[in-house]
């Protein structure tokens, strides 16, 4: 069945994990959800960046282009203007020359100009016509005049090909020429096609005319010829073309060597190298005639600028086209900017991508971790469950083994067999205890442990714990003592079992690790303890610290055994505060406890030892389960290291905290706080009565003298005596004791105390041995009087036989009380000493544990009420076993009938769950009837 349960549990765990996984998947972030898109987004981003940088580049490049165009335009216009200006200047000069010729050649008679004069003049004024390679004057000769003309000049008219001219209507032989063009003298200008056309146009218009560009005669450079008509006579104001032709005497021509001249001109200008200039004659728009520049276009063809040229001849149109010599250089700034932008964009994209990828990875990791965490937690839960189950499963056969061993021990065994069986039983019990501890831990971890809330006496629990360890401590020679502040209420409400478990664990540890000195359990109210420590700290700060006093040369600490302890704050000064206050304000305490009834009370419990302490590096993990301070510890001292962690859990369940102070080789002080409820007195009167019964009250009013040099130890002794109702006074040495007794002896009326008992600590006795005799004598002396002899009792942790004999000899004939002190043990000893022990019927062969029950129940009449016959029979049997007189009742009603006053029962045991009338109802009826009988519920823990 358990297996099935486990399986289903596994299943549920798995389901839970799955659900959680689904849940976490829902919790994915946006990036995580779109992780597959990330590379695509990156690509898109890069493309967008590329596009953007391209746009930027284009924008910047367009700017450049515009600027370049503007520059080109302005340069081109500049060149065109200059060329035009120069040209018109030259034209004007040629014009002036024409006027000069007409003036001096025709209007003067005889002519003032001959070839020599003309050549000289033109040579000397050539600077004014930089664009002209040369000028010449051709005279109009009609065919009829040719003979005359040729005879006059002595040469025949020749054509351009330097052959004698054929007969024509008209001739225009050059008669004057500049020296640079002297080769054209006597050439008939009309024989050249361009010139002839020019001449005809010029004399018809009377203006300067230009030929189309052609190869000039001498230089073979491209050039144009400028022609001016020279008139014989003055023309009328608005002459017609015929009149002009009529008046024409000759033509003045000049050759523009455009190619070289434009080159010269441009050479003077800035940026000459950068641009290419072409000049065209565009008179015939379909056929562009190049005047300057290369025919085949090279250079940057993408960008052109055209500028109109006006050379003063309306018939001819000219155009200047400029372009850059080289293609536009790549714009580095734009390129760099765009590139940088792209790179930055790329980087940003990459960074974002990287971040996204990182986020995705981290989230993946996170989810993975979360899943692992869930799994680990599930595994942990499963482990706990498994451990609990397994522990339980182990417990069942172990119970069998133990039961059988118990049965075995009941049979007749030889001593060896008995020894074996007993060993096996002890081991089995230890194993069960260990399993229970593990189970406890798992239970606490699983949060299944619930604390009981029942009233209990904290002092008796502590006494029990002390008795548990008394044997061990005695063997080791350690002082073991407990002290509970009087302010701690008698009865608190809590879980006694768990409280005992904590104390047992702490004290057990201390006993294990302590070889000398003492173990001291102190219980205070938490608030008081805190206040006291505060005042203590203050006094320390004020400089009045006197923790140790020098006694006989060696350092002695004011602690229980005189050994140093780890926690200075728990030293004697603080302790004295407590104890003094406790003893001083006896009366007020009851008041306060009454006032504090039904409130919670915080207790602070310290377990102080002078053991080996905890190594500093291990102090951090003392409360971790299964971890011992040192791995060598388990070898040395055994144990599983689970106890402290359980204690911690339990303390936390009790609403407190556990802490410790430890100094290696000095000792450890574990202290924990726990919150308990206080109970209303009237409700638990019975309970208290019973507890009071546990401690015999026959000693009330007795007086005792405690002789002890160690104040702490003396206080502990006084505490135990006080619990028995004995008034105790402390003196530090035997001498003082003797003194006080003596005083009492002599002054019968004025004595402070008349001790019935003198308790002497062994140490004090040994140190002050001399004075024992005086006490003894004092006793003898008192013997003469009517006084009772005070009983001398020696308190010892361990005592050898010889010491014991010696003590007897020295006057401690009465008894020796072995420590650790417990109220009940002290009571037993005192009973023995004072021979006031009650004659209690002892059980025949009962084990110690049941003898108490036996004594308690023997002869008592008890009513058992239960509806379950089996249970009734068992209960009756159990009670009868302890000598009680048992009667049974089947129901609450029957019980009430039997309990009608006057009844004979001392106690009534009842099942709390019964049909008709359960325990609660019964109790209320009972209260109304006010029986004088203590009812104890008999609870069945059905579910456990």
């Amino acid at each position: 069945m358990t297996l099935k349960m486990q399986q289903s549990y596994h299943h549920s765990v798995a389901v839970k994990v799955n659900e959680q996984q689904v849940g976490t998947k829902r919790g994915y972030t946006f990036i995580q959800a779109n992780r597959t898109w990330l590379p695509k987004v990156l690509l898109l981003w890069v493309m967008a960046m590329a596009l953007l940088s391209l746009t930027i580049y284009n924008g910047m490049d367009a700017d450049n282009r515009v600027r370049r165009k503007e520059v080109l335009g302005s340069m081109c216009d500049q060149r065109a203007r200059i060329l035009q200006d120069q040209f018109s200047v030259s034209v004007n000069h040629v014009h002036a020359l024409a006027i000069l010729v007409s003036t001096f050649h025709y209007y003067k008679s005889p002519s003032a100009i001959d070839q020599e004069t003309f050549a000289e003049y033109t040579a000397r004024t050539a600077f004014e016509r930089p664009l002209l390679s040369g000028v010449a004057y051709a005279r109009r000769v009609i065919d009829s005049e040719r003979q005359e003309f040729e005879r006059q000049h002595g040469w025949t008219i020749k054509t351009m090909e330097r052959e004698p001219s054929a007969i024509r209507d008209e001739y225009a032989p050059v008669i004057f020429s500049q020296e640079t063009v002297s080769y054209i003298e006597s050439l008939d200008m009309m024989s050249g096609e361009e010139d002839r056309e020019n001449i005809l146009r010029a004399r018809a218009t009377g203006k300067a005319v230009l030929t189309r560009p052609f190869r000039l005669l001498g230089s073979h450079h491209l050039g144009v010829v400028l022609t001016f008509p020279v008139y014989k006579s003055k023309l009328p104001p608005s002459p017609t073309a015929a009149q002009r032709i009529e008046a024409t005497a000759g033509y003045l021509g000049g050759a523009f060597d455009i190619e070289s001249l434009v080159e010269n001109l441009l050479g003077q200008l800035a940026g000459n190298q950068a641009i290419l200039v072409n000049v065209y004659d565009i008179t015939n728009s379909s056929d562009l005639l190049i005047m300057y520049g290369h025919q085949n276009l090279d250079g940057d063809l993408s960008l052109l600028h055209e500028s109109k040229l006006d050379f003063g001849d309306p018939f001819r149109k000219h155009l200047m086209i400029c372009r850059y010599h080289e293609k536009a250089p790549a714009s580095w700034a734009a390129l760099t900017t765009a590139f940088l932008f792209f790179v930055i964009g790329l980087l940003v994209g990459y960074i974002l991508y990287g971040a996204a990828i990182h986020i995705v990875r981290v989230e993946d990791g996170f989810h993975e971790m979360q899943e692992l965490k869930f799994r680990a937690e599930a595994a942990d839960v499963t482990k706990s469950q498994f451990l609990a189950t397994v522990s339980h499963e182990i417990r069942t056969p172990m119970n069998g083994i133990l039961g059988m061993l118990a049965l075995l021990l009941d049979t007749d065994l030889s001593s060896t067999q008995r020894d074996y069986a007993q060993t096996a039983q002890v081991c089995g019990k230890a194993l069960i205890a260990l399993i229970n501890e593990v189970l406890d831990r798992e239970k606490i971890e699983a949060g299944k442990l619930e604390l009981e809330a029942v009233p209990f006496d904290i002092r008796s629990i502590l006494d029990d714990v002390l008795s548990l360890f008394s044997e061990k401590s005695r063997n080791k020679g350690i002082e073991l003592a407990v002290f509970v502040s009087d302010k701690v209420p008698e009865i608190v409400v809590g879980d006694p079992g768990r409280f005992r478990q904590i104390i047992t664990n702490l004290v057990g540890n201390s006993v294990k690790f302590t070889d000398r000195g003492h173990i001291f359990i102190k219980v205070h109210l938490y608030e008081n303890a805190k206040a006291m420590t505060d005042t203590k700290v203050n006094t320390c700060l004020n400089g009045g610290s006197n923790e140790s006093v020098l006694t006989s040369g060696s350092q002695k600490f004011k602690t229980l055994s005189g050994c140093e302890t780890a926690d200075d704050q728990n030293s004697w000064d603080v302790f004295r505060h407590f104890s003094d206050e406790d003893f001083r304000s006896d009366a007020s305490i009851n008041v306060t406890t009454n006032n504090e009834a039904s409130e919670d009370v915080g207790l602070m419990v310290c377990v102080e030892d002078t053991g080996i302490g905890i190594p500093l590096k291990a102090q951090g993990r003392v409360f971790m389960p299964f971890v011992q301070a040192d791995s060598s510890t388990s070898r040395h001292y055994g144990g599983t290291g689970i106890g402290l962690s359980i204690s911690k859990c339990l303390v936390e369940l009790m609403g407190g905290q556990i802490d410790f102070i430890s100094r290696p080789d000095v000792g450890s002080t574990f202290s924990f706080t726990a919150v308990f409820g206080t109970c209303k007195k009237n409700v638990f009167n019975n309970m208290e009565k019973r507890n009071a019964e546990a401690l015999p009250s026959g000693f009330r009013g007795l007086k005792a003298l405690v002789v002890d040099g160690n104040p702490v130890r003396a206080t502990v002794t006084r505490y135990h005596l006080k619990r028995l109702g004995i008034l105790a006074e402390v003196v530090s040495s035997l001498k003082l004791a003797a003194g006080s007794c003596g005083k009492n002896g002599s002054l019968t009326s004025g004595g402070k105390i008349q001790p019935d008992i003198i308790l002497v600590e062994k140490d004090s006795w040994i140190s002050g041995e001399d004075s024992v005799s005086s006490v003894w004598q004092l006793d003898l002396k008192q013997n003469g009087h009517t006084f009772k002899l005070p009983k001398m009792i020696l308190l010892a942790t361990n005592i050898t036989d010889s010491e014991f004999d010696k003590a007897k000899g020295a006057g401690f004939s009465d008894t020796v009380i072995m420590k650790p002190l417990r109220a009940r043990m002290v009571a037993a000893c005192l009973q023995q000493v004072l021979s006031m022990g009650k004659k209690r019927s002892q059980g025949k062969g009962m084990p110690n544990g049941s003898s108490f029950l036996q004594s308690l129940l023997c002869g008592k009449r008890i009513l058992v009420v239960d509806d379950n016959r089996v249970n009734r029979r068992v209960a009756a049997g159990a009670l009868k076993k302890f000598g009680a007189d048992v009667e049974c009742a089947e129901s609450g009603k029957a019980a009430l009938k039997l309990l009608q006053l006057p009844h004979i029962y001392d106690a009534c045991f009842m099942d709390i769950q019964m049909p008709e009338m359960d325990g609660y109802v019964f109790k209320s009826c009972f209260m109304i009837l006010d029986f004088n009988c203590s009812v104890i519920y008999w609870l069945y823990f059905l579910d456990r």
């Binding site: 059988m404 049965l407 007749d412 016959r869 029979r873 076993k881 059905l942 579910d943």
Partner: protein, 160 residues
């Protein structure tokens, strides 16, 4: 020879008890019950167990009757019966019977009829098992007592 028989019977009893403990049929409570048996009440255990059988059979009958009443099962009454059964089983230390009772009660609290029927079957099975085993035990006990009582007092046995 009979002395040997006593020893054997005792060993058999111990073995049987060990098995029962191991199986979890019985727990410590049974040992405590045995401890209560002394000279003043020599048949205490068998007496108690007989009462237990008597009561339990009554309770089982009642439970079956309640469950087989198809129209209406009185789960509350069933719970009371089960509590009783549980209490008495705890008293004699019938651990497994008690455990089944706990499950049964849980089923009855949830008005789970099918679960109740299953639990009842299981309970009857466990109960029969327990009864058989205890009967066996008591028979052995009787034989042992007869054998021991008929022949020798205890001291003489030790001398053998």
């Amino acid at each position: 020879m009979l002395g040997w028989g006593v020893d054997r019977l005792r060993a058999d009893m111990s073995r049987l008890l060990a098995i029962l403990f191991h199986q979890g049929v019985l727990d410590e409570q049974f040992l405590q019950l045995q401890q209560l048996q002394d000279e003043s009440s020599p048949n205490f255990v068998s007496e108690v167990v007989n009462i237990y059988f008597h009561e339990s059979e009554k309770l089982l009958r009642n439970l079956r009757g309640l469950l087989l009443d198809r129209e209406f099962s009185d789960y509350k009454k069933m719970g009371i019966h089960l509590n009783q059964f549980m209490g008495s089983s705890s008293s004699i230390g019938a651990n497994r019977v008690r455990n089944v009772c706990v499950a049964f009660r849980a089923a009855s609290e949830q008005n789970n009829r099918a679960g109740c029927l299953r639990a009842l079957e299981l309970l009857e099975h466990e109960y029969c098992y327990l009864k058989n085993k205890l009967h066996e035990l008591f028979q052995m006990e009787q034989q042992r007592v007869l054998a021991a009582g008929a022949r020798y007092p205890l001291q003489q046995q030790q001398q053998h």
